[in-house]
């Protein structure tokens, strides 16, 4: 619940839109009630007047009210939907910014591993779920409760006993059913939240291993295991459905009981001469009209548990893992020093890095050569401060990376990963990621260095063309070079490049590496690669094998 409030707490403008749309929803329900109540009043009064049991009847005033209520209900319902959407959209922005901000407080390595799995897709799905909380749950609830409250007040004025009876049956009984149902939905909600990812991963495992399973004639048997996971999910869903059915029946029962009581009390009051016949009929019809506002709440409130779970997951995401808490924001120089470095991935059998020592002075260019799979990438991530060593120390200007402020460190050290991610956005927006103020000329100059001048010229809108899913597709080699360009546009003091030329043909690679020299001047660079073509002029070269670094 706390997580839900944290994520959904509306800002000032959003709250105003919510308030306006909620009052429209309330007005729509009330006008519907008025429409039916006055109609009932009119018919009863006319019938009595028609047989002479009532003196002269003015039919024009109630007729006008009925017409006004009919038009008013249409208008308010239209406004409710429109303004409700405005409010929803505004809240949608807030939810996205909040959950995104939470995500951005997580360590890079954790984010990368999350990106490979389902978690981030699920995060966006959870965010989508929360978008619906206001229009589906809050809006109809406010309208139903508000209208009921008014009805109770009117009834109280006419007959306290009718008011209390009605309040007890509809407001009391209905609310009780909603609260009980929501509480009961927790268990199945939790089971469902567990069952769905289990089903997904069972399916994923089955699909990934399908060739293997077929080859040992186990595909059918394992498919039955997957279906068992489907059954687990369906069982939880059916339990939820049973609760929803209970809520719907319970609410309707409370509502109809309220109506029945109002009818009974109305008749009694009329018999005692305390209430006019048309008013008694109008009240009964009003209480019947209110039931329609209550019944949809069963579906709305069953949705609550889903929202709570979603909010809990988003909230938990930001909580796990922490960014280093270092505070130092300046270093005397940009020399990197590595001592006694060792690293093992959690759960892995062997250490990837056994014992590494290395010194890179400011402005030096170093090549680390090693076979693929030797652990070069891990070494690069350790040097960039993305991974934390198990043993030993890495320092920048004599200060342990752990003691440096994270944002400061990120501003100094640029890292090119083996699978750099480009955004589905314009080319320029992608390149400016690390330098918002870079001019078009600078971008074009750097694109020329990485050999992509022709690529840009071929694009329909030059730098403003979209790349990725919605625009020009980018090949592996082009993507790698764009990512390199993006890194070079930003003003990093130290660059760590992991296989920068993979997927680029040898000729282009040689061309790029010769041009690169001028851009790297004054910056430190560590290039990790399986061949030495990448960096033709380097100050030193090391060979990395079996977790150890040897100079060459």
């Amino acid at each position: 619940m706390a997580a839900l409030i944290r994520l959904l707490r509306p800002g000032g403008a959003t709250a105003r839109w919510m308030l306006i749309s909620a009052s429209m929803a309330l007005a729509a329900v009330l006008l519907g009630v008025v429409l039916l109540a006055v109609s009932g009043w009119l018919i009863t009064a006319s019938a009595l007047a028609g047989i002479g049991m009532l003196a002269v009847l003015d039919i024009f005033a109630p007729g006008a009210i009925i017409r006004a209520a009919a038009v008013g209900r249409t208008v308010t319902r239209y406004l409710e939907r429109l303004l409700g959407h405005e409010a929803t959209f505004r809240q949608l922005t807030e939810i996205r910014v909040r959950s995104f901000s939470r995500l951005l407080t997580m360590p890079i390595e954790r984010l990368e591993s999350l990106g490979r799995g389902d978690t981030l897709t699920r995060l966006t799905r959870d965010v989508d779920v929360l978008d619906h909380l206001f229009p589906r749950l809050v809006l109809p609830s406010v309208a139903a409760f508000g209208a009921t409250l008014l009805a109770v007040i009117v009834l109280m004025a006419l007959s306290p006993s009718a008011g209390i009876g009605y309040a007890a049956s509809l407001a009391g009984g209905g609310t009780l059913v909603l609260l009980a149902g929501t509480r009961m939905a927790r268990g199945p909600g939790r089971s469902l939240a567990q069952a769905t990812p289990v089903m997904r991963s069972a399916t994923a495992e089955w699909l990934r291993g399908l060739a293997e399973l077929l080859s040992v004639d186990q595909a059918g048997r394992r498919a039955r295991d997957v279906i068992h996971r489907v059954d687990d999910q369906i069982r939880a869903q059916l339990a939820q459905r049973r609760i929803e059915a209970f809520m719907q029946a319970g609410i309707a029962l409370a509502g109809y009981l309220g109506f029945w009581l109002v009818l009974l009390v109305g008749i009694k009051l009329y018999a005692d001469g305390l209430l006019a016949a048309p008013v008694a009929a109008g009240l009964a019809l009003a209480s019947l009209a209110l039931v329609d506002a209550w019944v949809p709440l069963a579906a709305s409130w069953s949705f609550f548990e889903t929202c709570r779970q979603a909010a809990g997951r988003i909230d938990a995401l930001g909580g796990e893992g922490k960014i280093s808490t270092g505070t130092v924001r300046s270093v005397p120089d940009f020399g990197l020093a590595v001592r006694d470095l060792a690293f093992r991935y959690p759960g892995a059998v062997d250490r990837v890095i056994e014992n590494v020592a290395l010194d890179i002075a400011q402005g030096e260019h170093v090549l680390v050569q090693g076979a693929s799979g030797s652990g070069k990438t891990t070494l690069g991530k350790l040097l960039a401060g993305i991974l934390t060593p198990d043993n030993g120390m890495i320092s920048l200007g004599g200060i342990d990376l752990q003691r440096l402020n994270e944002a400061y460190l990120r501003g100094q050290v640029g890292y090119l990963s083996q699978n750099p991610m480009l955004f589905n956005d314009t080319l320029a927006a992608n390149l400016r990621l690390g330098a918002f103020s870079a001019t078009d000329e600078e971008l074009l100059r750097i694109l020329d260095v990485v050999g992509l001048s022709a690529f840009v010229e071929a694009l329909p809108n030059g730098l403003e063309s979209w790349i990725g899913e919605h625009g020009r597709g980018v090949s592996g080699g082009e993507g790698r070079r764009l990512a390199l360009a993006r890194l070079l546009v930003a003003d990093f003091r130290i660059l760590i490049l992991d296989e920068p030329m993979a997927g680029v043909d040898a000729e282009t690679a040689t061309l790029i590496s010769t041009r690169l020299a001028s851009l790297l001047y004054g910056r430190s660079a560590i290039v990790l690669s399986h061949d030495r073509l990448v960096l033709p002029r380097y100050d030193r070269c090391y060979r990395f094998a079996d977790g150890c670094l040897d100079p060459e």
Partner: protein, 540 residues
């Protein structure tokens, strides 16, 4: 569902009639309350039934939807299995279909479908009673809802357009947001958090302005329905009022009484209620039909082995002869990869298949494994067409190991035996020794019983491949296929896997075909077969 809706219609009409009868009894006939109590009790019973029937409808709809989704998922798995790994599109797409898209059926079968039935039966029944009571009032309902089917189409067009617009713009935003979320690591690397956050705000605001413009118009269509229903109730009330007062002298109006008048008034909102519910649930239908389209496409995937015969199950020998007769093969909608191949491999021969990447090594292995069928020609095992073999018999003949080993959640020993329940512990240990699995498993606290796969120990590619090798070799198969078992390994791991392979093959009499990018490391090979530009050639 239809029965339930008919019962519902009966309840609604009975309720309206009872309320009207009670009112007429009290106000017109001036009956005392005790005389009316039987009617009141009966009304209470009807109201309780109405509440219950709503709940029961929910339950039944939930069950129907669960049944449909379970069946669809079962059919999808069967279909994936029949199509086989060589034809299936990427896993992410399949999982999305299996999970989210099948789930979209829930809104359709669980919510929209019962609503649609109710929206047909209930208004129709009400109309019949309204006409029987007062044909003018009935006409009024009919005119404000000009023939229910026509009305439904009207709702459909408006609501569908609305749903589509809303869905499309939200999907666009969702896609963009997912992209940002997936790039969170990159954003952090470039210290671009603030810029990215601003982008989220700007994009959603821009989308809001654009969408609200569309919605302003789109919501009008549902307002029309709202308007009709409100105006119908209002004019009905005024018509009945005037009729009761005796101002109207035409048609059935003079015969109106409080009872018939109230009865009609109470029926009016019930007439429109199911239609309104339907229009609000219309987007469920749009989502479900989009999902159904994609699922239908997957269910139409052709099976990998359409000609297998259930009863053709020859006994597996210790080794078998393998032949290709005029075999051609092409991936769907691509150029011919293998062209009219002829080949004969004697029983027990151990072959290395070499060729540049993309030359069709893997496709050829897939053909031998029965993961795909040749577009023409035949693969023969001991003279029998492989296409005829029953699935289980084929698996008893052919063992297979791929490039990327998949370990399932479970222990190393379970992964080696993988469903072969009668494998003895001794057999597993023996094969684990030969495959070099013990070399690393011995260092784990529980040895072969250490958990691997999801939530287990992370094994390196080479370690996992040795487990997979043990799995492929523990079952005696007359033909063993190895599809570049070291393609994704570094030199050191490759050496270990090749060593394991050599140990295992030394004491096996099976026919072996191993695709490889380098033949030099396969000292055990009897012969080397080259493949290039869709042609086969013996190199040694």
């Amino acid at each position: 569902m239809t029965v339930l809706s008919t019962v519902d219609a009966g309840i609604v009409i009975a309720q309206a009639w009872l309320v009207a009868a009670v009112a007429a009894g009290v106000f017109i006939e001036q009956q005392p309350l005790p005389a009316l109590m039987p009617l009141m009790w009966f009304l209470l019973l009807v109201l309780v039934l109405r509440a219950l029937s709503g709940g029961i409808r929910q339950l039944l709809a939930g069950r129907a939807s669960a049944y449909v989704r379970r069946e669809t998922r079962m059919r999808l798995l069967e279909c994936f299995q029949r199509a086989g790994p060589a034809v299936l599109p990427p896993g992410g797409e399949l999982i999305a279909a299996f999970d989210e898209q099948v789930e979209a059926f829930d809104a359709f079968y669980g919510r929209f479908f019962p609503q649609r039935i109710a929206a047909t039966i209930v208004p129709l029944a009400i109309l019949v009673f309204a006409f029987a009571t007062d044909w003018l009032a009935g006409l009024l309902l009919l005119l404000t809802a000009p023939l229910i089917p026509l009305f439904m189409i009207l709702i459909g067009i408006g609501a569908e357009k609305l749903a589509r617009e809303q869905f499309r713009s939200l999907a666009r935003l969702g896609g963009w947001f997912l992209d940002q979320v997936q790039g969170a690591a990159t954003i952090r690397l470039f210290r671009a958090e603030d810029g990215a956050r601003n982008q989220v705000v700007q994009r959603t605001h821009a989308l809001r302005r654009e969408t609200m413009r569309v919605l302003r118009l789109a919501f009008l269509s549902s307002a029309v329905l709202e308007f009709f229903s409100a105006v119908a109730i209002a004019s009905l009330a005024i018509y009945i009022g005037l009729g009761l007062l005796g101002y109207l002298t035409f048609g059935p109006a003079p015969e109106l009484t409080l009872q018939s008048g109230l009865f009609l008034l109470l029926l009016a909102p019930e007439f429109f209620q199911p239609l309104r519910a339907l229009s609000q649930g219309w987007h469920d239908r749009a989502d479900a039909s989009a999902a159904a389209g994609e699922i239908r496409e997957l269910l139409a995937l052709p099976p990998a082995r359409p000609r297998a015969e259930e009863e053709f199950a020859p006994e597996a020998p210790r080794q078998c002869k393998v032949e290709l007769r005029g075999v051609s093969f092409a991936h769907p909608e691509r150029e011919v990869l293998l062209n009219d191949l002829e080949l004969e491999i004697e029983a027990g021969l151990k072959i290395v298949l070499v060729g540049p990447s993309g030359s069709g090594k893997s496709s050829l292995i897939s053909l031998f494994a029965g993961f795909a069928e040749p577009s023409s020609g035949e693969v023969l095992l001991d003279g029998e067409p492989l296409a005829r073999f029953a699935d289980a018999a084929l698996r008893a003949h052919v063992g297979w190991l791929g490039q990327r080993p998949v370990l399932f959640a479970g222990t190393i020993a379970e992964n080696i035996a993988l469903g072969w329940d009668s494998a003895s512990r001794r057999q597993i240990e023996r094969i684990a020794h030969q495959a070099g699995v013990f070399e690393f498993a011995g260092r784990l606290p529980k040895g072969l019983d250490s958990p691997v796969g999801e939530n287990g120990y992370g094994l390196s590619g080479g370690q996992a491949q040795r487990v997979a090798l043990a799995r492929a070799m523990i079952r005696p198969r007359p033909l063993v296929l190895l599809d570049e078992p070291t393609a994704n390994l570094d030199d050191e791991s490759e050496a270990l896997v090749l060593q394991a392979l050599e140990n295992l093959l030394a004491e096996r009499s099976a026919t072996v075909i191993c695709a490889a990018h380098r033949a030099a490391t396969m000292a055990w090979a009897d012969r080397i077969l080259g493949i290039e530009q869709g042609r086969l050639r013996w190199l040694r």
